[in-house]
Symmetry: D3
Subunit: 146 residues, 6 copies
């Protein structure tokens, strides 16, 4: 595995977005999803197991997936927002969680986040709403980690 | 938020469908899904957080979503069945749960429910079966609440 | 093949819905879709070829598909509306065309049609709009055939 | 209909993106899609017919769809790229065509376009490739119109 | 219910694939999914409840689903791999789990499994990755049961 | 581009499957799809234009896509059937056409083809039927080219 992939393989460090003020919320249990920490541990463990199998196609795809979000004609933040909205309309909670973590690292503000989510909601319809709820819940969780 | 949306925002009261006889079932844990009560609490909490953000597009969409199922040329029951089957073929468990709750309120019978689910199964194929299982489990849970 | 299936295999006769007044429209070419007549001829020819292959699973599925929309606890019209909205949110133009033809036979009114389509639009989002356009275009074509 | 919606209802004027040099291509027929002009005419005609029906839910959704892409915390260009990639992964050619037209108006460069498409390809997989082909073909058609 | 369906209704016995050596793994909790045992109990209980309702369309569909994977021009193993990859690209974890269990019974090797999963990954894109993780986790769980 | 990709980039030579006898069919026009020849020309032209852009992610993905179907633990024929069924349940006509062409080259018989399609039909439901029709039409076209 290249270094590039490694950065995507390990869990993104949850530095909170600067543009976002502290939001006090009561502690609560997540009825709908496992914690961010559980998500990361499972993701890391399985990525290791999958990449360790040395299936050429799968390993190259994982590396390519990492390359996709690197800076080019578009900046990293824009690319992560593209990945986020694509994940939202395809309704993949884990993919949304991953891109939310990266968006927080790229200093996406809460207003920018909600506008991006609104595009996904209009394009994808009310079927997206349960995923929107979990996305906002994750984002608030990420803000608290700041 | 308008009153209309509020009615959709708060959890529908689980009055059981009249046409449905009492079904005695042993108490059991839900292996595949959180309880109806957890679903509602999470849904209400996140709807509040999302609507409180005052993103115009999202808030209008939520209001419009509520309007969609109001009585018009079609009655409310038919519209809820349309929402249910659309949610089933798109395989959104939370959306199915919501429409099942509304169907119970609109006095959909168990036979009508199974026929609606059968349309979703034929249109959507075997990939729908896991969602069909959870839908029937939810319906039985709603009947017990009657 | 059973008779039941035959009724679904042959193209539904485009008797126009009673509730729908004559709508004068200028003749126009369909930029986006083949004519209803072409659709039917292709459908019938391929159904014959497929069923003639005598693959047990496929032939039974076709027969079961027909059974799904027969009168039971729900009437035929409601079931066809369920099939229509399921087809719309899954964005299958040919499936939409088929159910529109059946809805016209079942005397669905234009107002009932638009309400059903509105459910599909809200559930499925703006991605449904191109299919909504073609659905309305088909419906107007069916009305002219009355 | 509000003015806002009107701007989205009428076909976007195909001013070519500045960042894109003239690309000489031999004239060719589009095997896979109708021309941009046919697309626009059909779109305008059907939008008129749909909005003329005065279904409240549908008309409000169309208006809201337009609002979604207006300038806010994110600029219009970024929002159009979000709409484009969402449309690509959901594999809706007409939606892709619409957003490509808007991207050309917002002066998206060919390199920015390809990077956005690459995100959609990686997220959505090889199933996206036929839509990628048609998207690039449309883009080249838009460049020639400059 | 026919015998055939019964074999699919009851949980497939998790005999481990011969081609797969013992893999020592530390015991771990599954962050993302319920245990295979919970999956089976829920599946069996709900299949009983659904089939007991005697909805003709649903019961015939379940029977037909079982027939689909029987030996014909293609052997059972190939058909189960087809079902597995179809389930993976449609991103249905429960369907993937079912076909993995059947693949293990049909002596699919770990290399064959990973190649099949790689096809699903390339066709379906990065959105498939979370399901790929859970699929590999399940497979390892099945191997331990050998 | 590597040679491997080239083989996938150029149109597969339509040698007919050996196991398939000559089927006399009257010449007919394809109401629903462009000819195989048009499909190929458009595909080749656009692949050239896309790869010529030298977007690293896109070009590597195209190369990886080709690698996916090479002989490994599974033979090429099985992998092409996996690609075919995945394409069918995701309802991508162009992807189905491509894999059908490859299946014909790999000497898939008509019975094997129909069994593979039957898996896709059961998994994906009636929404798959229009794509099944076009797939069978394409296969018959490929047989005639033998």
């Amino acid at each position: 595995m290249s270094k590039r992939n490694a950065s995507r393989t390990k869990a993104a460090a949850p530095k909170a977005a600067k543009g976002v003020g502290a939001r006090s919320s009561p502690p609560h249990t997540h009825a709908e999803q496992s914690s961010l920490d559980e998500f990361r541990r499972f993701r890391e463990r399985m990525n290791s197991e999958i990449l360790g199998e040395n299936n050429l196609v799968i390993n190259r795809f994982f590396a390519l997936d990492t390359r996709t979000y690197e800076r080019g004609a578009l900046d990293v933040k824009t690319k992560e927002l593209l990945g986020l909205v694509a994940s939202l309309v395809l309704r993949c909670d884990d993919c949304v969680t991953y891109h939310l973590t990266r968006c927080a690292e790229e200093r996406v503000t809460r207003a920018e986040l909600f506008e991006s989510l609104s595009v996904g909601l209009i394009v994808g319809g009310s079927i997206v709403i349960p995923h929107l709820r979990r996305a906002v819940d994750r984002w608030t969780e990420l803000e608290r980690l700041d």
